[in-house]
């Protein structure tokens, strides 16, 4: 599965996991939508992709950096041939899900089906063999079948840097500024919440054998400004992800994650756990079909925000790199 595709799929999955309490009040609605959309952003920070490593070559025509480069010398690729690093990507996904708890409520959960199309443009320029830029713009909409009041849109933009450490198993260190804006349904003008935050993420991949990878990671997301202030929170998470390319076209991945959220203007603290698994089939070079399943739970210092949820979904994705 292509890393950006993974990010999107996970984003869509987690979007429904950590929202909640949307029907209780207006502010609670904002909490829920902030949860869902911001968690989608969290998934984007799963730096299981190591950028240069995936293509083998960098955007300036060199082999990717490895620990013994000094022994091997300068590995400049001639004539611009080969599978060179492609810093731009455009991705469109059209996933549909069934969720057991659409509003992420503690009591009397209601199931629903929702559609969450998204488009993302990203740019990851290579500044050196170990330093990359990390820029992305994404718009996603969430349309519920029975509970139309839950519909919302999420716009995200991110700018940051990623530093790779080949001597430490290609540890990826990501530092980024993130802006997230939630809107009512698919109206881009009716803003519900806007948040600015700083993201720090560490991702340590372990490649055991052919096509298998285990990634251990974690990080923090610190809110520096929000409008309104009430839904603002700082987040701290750890995760373990596994992926395997079973065949040339079929891949599987699983992600387990624990995140703690400390709300800035209150004493509320939430701890959420989730486990998601996905299978993907690459139909063509650019198009993939996937199915997903996720279970998650949330425990809050304010018990009315506790919930559990299970989701099952699938969809098509289009990814173009250039």
């Amino acid at each position: 599965m292509n890393p950006p595709t993974v990010r999107f799929h996970r984003a869509a999955l987690f979007t429904v996991l950590f929202g909640g309490i949307a029907l209780l009040s207006t502010s609670a609605t904002t909490y829920a939508q902030a949860d869902r959309a911001q968690t989608a952003q969290d998934q984007a920070t799963y730096a299981s992709d190591t950028y240069s490593s995936d293509s083998g070559f960098t955007s300036n025509g060199h082999a990717v950096s490895t620990p013994n480069d000094a022994d091997l010398g300068e590995q400049e690729i001639m004539g611009g041939g080969g599978e060179r690093y492609q810093p731009f990507s455009l991705s469109v996904i059209a996933p549909i899900y069934y969720t057991s708890n659409a509003a992420l409520t503690r009591f009397d959960p209601k199931g629903d089906v929702f559609f969450a199309p998204a488009a993302t443009f990203s740019y990851s320029p290579r500044f050196s063999s170990q330093l990359y830029g990390d820029f992305a713009v994404q718009q996603q909409f969430f349309y519920y079948d029975r509970f139309g009041d839950l519909n919302f849109g999420s716009f995200d933009t991110r700018a940051g840097l990623i530093y790779l450490v080949p001597q430490l198993r290609n540890l990826a260190i990501r530092l980024a500024y993130d802006y997230n804006r939630l809107t009512v349904s698919d109206s881009l003008n009716e803003e519900l919440f806007a948040d600015q935050s700083i993201i720090l993420n560490l991702n340590l991949p372990f490649r055991f054998s052919d096509g298998q990878e285990l990634s251990l990671g974690g990080g923090a997301r610190i809110s520096v400004f929000g409008d309104p202030d009430l839904p603002r929170r700082d987040e701290f998470d750890i995760y373990l992800a596994y992926s395997i390319n079973a065949t040339r076209a079929v891949s599987f991945n699983a992600v387990g994650r624990v995140v703690a959220r400390a709300y800035v203007l209150s004493d509320r603290i939430d701890v959420s756990e989730s486990l998601s698994v996905a299978a993907s089939y690459r139909v063509t070079r650019m198009i993939s079909a996937s199915v997903y399943s996720t279970v998650a739970g949330n425990q809050s210092s304010d018990k009315k925000f506790d919930y559990s949820v299970a989701n099952l979904g699938g969809g098509l994705s289009l990814l173009i790199r250039f």
């Binding site: 300068e74 004539g79 080949p166 490649r207 054998s209």
Partner: protein
């Protein structure tokens, strides 16, 4: 596929006439190089030390070593490398690190094994790097090498003279030409060693084939000889695309 078959026959033929690698002699040491014999404590290596199949060579940071085997096969071991060999099978194990391997033509082939990939060569000078969790690289300075996946042994890539292939994300990249002259100028496994490579003339011919007029005179063989060069290395057309799996993300 023809390319694979040809390379396979070529490499197999090399192995069939091969004499075993009985022992090697340490011919050059840079900084921290240790020998680890079975059931014995590590000891610092010295020039002229004999290395047998039950002995591992381990290098430290910024360290290198050169070994010459009984059949004149040459191995240069890079920094932070663990290297052993199995004489009967003419195979070498690279636990981690980098190695430059030069197998004389007619001496028989050699195979380098790692947990993820293997590299096979005959009559070739290659550089190979493997470290867990990062891409593995096979670079041919002259001659033909072949790299195969351990998990999927039928998935291989042939790397011709002046080409590099990288094993990343469980897949091989398509071999592409790299600037051999720049490697010769900058690689510590070449410039950081005292001795000239026996295959230097062949490597220089590859450089010329890449349009390398005005290449570094320091990489010309001392006697300037090019008479034994296999011109086919550079005159043959590029092989058909091998069945390389596209790496994830492409």
């Amino acid at each position: 596929m023809v390319c694979f078959a040809s390379a396979g026959v070529l490499i197999a033929a090399g192995f069939t006439t091969a004499a075993p690698l009985r022992q090697a002699r340490v011919t050059e040491i840079v900084r921290d190089v240790k020998l680890l014999a079975n059931h014995a404590a590590a000891r610092p290596a010295a020039v002229s030390d004999s290395v047998t199949a039950d002995t591992a060579v381990r290098t430290g940071t910024e360290s290198r070593a050169e070994l010459i085997f009984n059949d004149d096969t040459l191995a240069r071991v890079g920094a932070n490398t663990v290297f052993t060999f199995d004489g009967g099978n003419r195979s070498m194990d690279l636990g981690s690190g980098a190695v430059l391997l030069q197998v004389p033509k007619g001496a028989g082939g050699a195979k380098i094994s790692t947990p993820a990939v293997t590299a096979a060569v005959t009559g070739t000078t290659i550089m190979f790097e493997y470290n867990a969790n990062v891409p593995a690289k096979l670079m041919s300075l002259e001659g033909v090498g072949k790299m195969c996946s351990v998990k999927h042994p039928d998935e291989c890539v042939v790397v011709n003279a002046g080409e590099i292939s990288i094993f990343t994300g469980g897949h091989f990249t398509k071999p592409v030409k790299f600037d051999v002259r720049k490697v010769m100028r900058s690689a510590k496994l070449i410039r950081g060693m005292k001795h000239k490579l026996p295959s230097l003339a062949l490597i220089n011919e590859v450089i010329r084939g890449q349009g390398g007029s005005g290449f570094d005179e320091n990489v010309i063989a001392p006697d300037g000889s090019v008479g034994t060069i296999d011109q086919r290395l550079n005159s043959q057309p590029p092989p058909p695309p091998p069945p390389v799996r596209s790496p994830p993300g492409l």
